[in-house]
Amino acid sequence: MRTRFLVTGISLLSLWVTSLSVSAMPRAYVTNEKDNTLSVIDMNTFEVTDTLDIGERPRGFILSADQSHAYICASDSDRIQIIDLDTHTIVGDLPSGEDPETIALHPNGTTIYTANEDDALLTVIDIPSSQVIAQIDVGVEPEGLAVSHDGRMMVVTSETTNMVHWIDTNTHENIANSLVDARPRDAHFTADDKHLWVSSEIGGTVTIFDTQTKQKAHTLSFDVKGVYRDKIQPVGILLMRDSPYAFVALGPANRVAVVNTNTFEIEKYIVVGRRVWQLAFNQDQSLLLTTNGVSGDVSVINTETLNVEKTVKVGRYPWGIAVKWK
């Protein structure tokens, strides 16, 4: 009995020591799909300070509104895990349905959306009560999720149905469906919610919709010298808050495209690691981080100079990424 107390005491102490050692801010978190781990990167030193064991096949990763917690899609464990970002411990999970791949948070901070890839469903979860509020029938292999900044509308893309499904967040009704090029992945609303950007991995394009009319406003295609067209596979998209730039990860082209959002011109292709996938900014958007699946690392891009400043080795198949600064 006494020994057990002692052991508990020691482990608590070590936990406390660990939490002290990881408390430097800001930090980036990266899910490693094939390692079932979460890499923690100190954004001051760009070193991996911790690697945490989490659920199986972790992919989508987002922070809670106050950044005290994060939600992890542990696809093969069929759950969304909640991790406390102060103690780096898993403190619970949300009822996600089977095979959650990606997640998005409503601006209200209490509603979370997840795509159940194997069941062609969008699940809506209320965080405080940990209840499933609704499940909405969508296309095959739902993937990309985006909630408008005003919180009124959200979209989900379906990879095999090649559609964007527009959902009213009040009624949970599917209000429209739009075809896009093959295998849509990521979706993002512009800061003013007037446009929606959707990447098509196999189609090799990014479609920009007018959110009012749900009509296609622009289509971006990419052309990288010395790279076969079908190796240019747009996946992650990120739009800058204050400057007219968007970044598009181009998968096995191993590049991130820099798009001027006023002219829709592609101004630069930044060479990063192999099979670049998802993207995240730091707080002031001076840095852009990319997860590079095949090379198992994270590239750190200076958004001013558009150069890669650092490459950080993480686990096998890094997938989701987010930066905590609070």
């Binding site: 095959v140 095999t160 009704e173 075809l179 090799g204 749900k214 009509q215 296609k216 079908d230």
Partner: protein
Amino acid sequence: MKKAKVWIGISTLLLSVSALHAHVHAQIQSGSKYKGQAEAQQNTTNMVYLKLKRPTPAGTPSYLISPTDEGIAGAEIGIEDANITGKFLGYSLTLAHINALDSAATDAITHAPVVLIDSPDAQYQEAVRSVVSINPSALVVNVASGKDTFRRMHCELNVLHTYPSYQMKTDALGQWLRTKRLSSVLTLRGAHESDEAYLDAFLRTAKKFKLNIVEKKTWQASFDLRRSAFSEIPLFTRTKKPYDAIFAADTQSQYAYSLPFNTHLIVPIMGSAGLKPLGWHFTHEQWGARQLQNRFKDKFSRTMNEVDFAAYAAIIAISTALQRSDSSDFKNNDSQMHESVTGTRLFNALVEGQLSIAAYKGRQLTFRKGTRQLRQPMALAHEEALVTHAPLSGFLHQLDELDTLGDATTTCKDAL
């Protein structure tokens, strides 16, 4: 401009029907599965899967006999995927299975714009002829034969091939051999005519990639190898000159399974054993393939093979065509094809329109105009893992890297 107009047409249609498709289920218990019911008007396209029996030669090891639902299972998964998409767009697909060309089959084929053919090579031509005599405009898709001469036949008919040609397979091997700097090859074949077709493709590959054929041998399947392979195979594979690799054509599983670790010179075996060039391998998981593999395994309790994939790809190609308007014969009509389906319209959209399909291979797949063969990467795999996908880097083509695999001629009618 034209494209934009078509798109607006489609999205207007979508907006008008989409409200009907909204399915919301409140308070669904975690773990329960929701199946949607489509209330909207659906245009149904009937398809037929014609599976003619493959005779199993005596002495075939039981574990090498194909699953009885081979191909059909792939088609069924394709139908499920297509119908989820179709429910948002107002179409659905049905699939009837037939095993013989009897009167019931005639009835089914008469009402089916699409017929998938899964036939032994010996009956393939007759099967195509019978189908088009019943339904002349039917789109026929070969989902199980690799014979190259079939790609130079039926030029006037609506015939497509989603199963890779032998030439695509052997060119993938040729690229691997060249990459590994192995240039002297011993070729083996069985007595079956399909083995001859597979070997012929390899010999054309050898010429193209300047490989040296050391010797060509034929296995006479006169006895069961399994108790005597250790003594028989070294004799069979002894040659005057050394070789770097062995290509074995054994479409009937009569001897190639005994080659690895048994040959006179211990070298890589490829073709029907060892390193196999395949349209699909169960270990492939990139580009979302893992999702398809999981869905397949959950439903059929076995792994997905290349005939299943060929059938799946055929269904997905049809589904993709049904979503689009047909620019080639509906120039001023923005309606989607599923509103009036014919085999000819589907064929034109896929071949003349070069409509591309996405099927978990990381590339847009299209049909070659000349041979009506689906362009696709080839998996190079052994029993336990995928080695890589061909085309391998460094093999270039002026138009499309995928055309380094197989017969990319632009004419159908010339002899091979």
